[in-house]
Symmetry: C2
Subunit: 245 residues, 2 copies
Amino acid sequence: MKSTIPDTGVPIALPAANGGDRQEASLHGEILLRLRDYVVEGNIPDGARVPERQLCEMFGISRTPLREALKVLAAEGLIELLPNRGARVRQLSQRDLEELFDVMAGLESLAGRLACEAITDAEITAIEQLHYEMYGHYLHRDMHGYFQINQRIHESIVAAARNETLKAAYANFAGRIRRVRYSANFARKRQRWAEAMREHEAILDALRRRAASELSDILFQHLRNKRTAAIEHLTEPQADAPASP
Amino acid sequence: MKSTIPDTGVPIALPAANGGDRQEASLHGEILLRLRDYVVEGNIPDGARVPERQLCEMFGISRTPLREALKVLAAEGLIELLPNRGARVRQLSQRDLEELFDVMAGLESLAGRLACEAITDAEITAIEQLHYEMYGHYLHRDMHGYFQINQRIHESIVAAARNETLKAAYANFAGRIRRVRYSANFARKRQRWAEAMREHEAILDALRRRAASELSDILFQHLRNKRTAAIEHLTEPQADAPASP
DNA sequence: AGTACAAAAAATGAATGCAAAATAGCCCCC
DNA sequence: GGGGGCTATTTTGCATTCATTTTTTGTACT
């Protein structure tokens, strides 16, 4: 027996039929959003093949729109297509990660530069608020809260750049990296954490003064340091993570 | 008479069946490459709808792989998909262009920064060669030759960054802009041209000294100025271009 | 003549069908 | 017991088909 969709005609909605309120007119578009999330959230292990038929059943659609979505995700770099062998979740090498971090650094660096031209006092105030909130998390050693706010600060800077193209590119690369769950403890080292806080102070300072070049430099360095920490964490995970299965 | 494929069964190869020696195992991949070129080269007017059926006949394939390619091109930002209304070549607003130029500026700025870390003396020498060659074109007022070399210099810097991810992103954005044929005369103004040459001198100088931050700044400014020139050209094309038809 | 409506034609979006390739079983042999 | 070659099943890639929607064409009416 072929386990197909039950004949109720109602598509089963496994991973949240509509994550939020976004909606796409086309089936292809909706599937693309859902499948992207599905992959980014790590529901398929690194390097594993993407089960076409299974996903079709999960989403309750035929293979055509799913395959279209797969091509797009491949173009985005999330998965890769092997000829006659279907799609696999793209496994990022250490080199890939370094490259991605550097590109992210470049984009944020650019965002900072542009933000200096366009940011309002109100936006700066809002970022300051976030900064102090983050500082609180830092003092309480609350990594999770810290990262949450940290991300919002960086997103605020990107938003202040007033460049939708940049924002989209940033989101794309962020998605590729997100699969790597480095955030949980890449900054374990107390020293790096303190350093990051100091860098954030400098970022705020440069932003207040609208010092474009300076901010650009600081942001790049900040992300560069993040990269180093992340890579170090990946290469010596024995510290606190269980050995690979 | 509708120009369809003759019944020989052999697909007609309109825009070069295989542009160069690249080859994709899948039909989808090949169509993607060919169609992207077709669009980037401006074979379909701005904002015009992408004739699905006609392209299928042109490439000698069915709609499935073509539609897959269309989805990818839409994700890349070259075309846009209107629900139930097919694909249109994306018309870039002035704002879009400004954004694209800024992102390109950011990417080149990043490329310069990274290049300072990795570039070899031989590569710098090669760029110097190109620079002098370009200077020759400048002296002879040979715009076409100038731009040719100019592009190669910028590509060399990107290549020297040793970051394939960056290179791919750069190529993508460059493709989006290429549709806008600004290059032919955006630098008409003698003064801007001279300025650009001076900027290139500064770029080379910073590169020789491997002054990352400085090069990053110069490259950003250089591209920013290019952007300004391009936009100015677009908003007042009466200078030398015939009035819009 | 110009406009409103209606039917026909064409297109789009998605599902299904089909041949080729890859994977998994299976048996035989060593 | 393990490896090699064969067949059967699944999977993949693309073509084709089908239901809608949009666009065009034709016609009548003001």
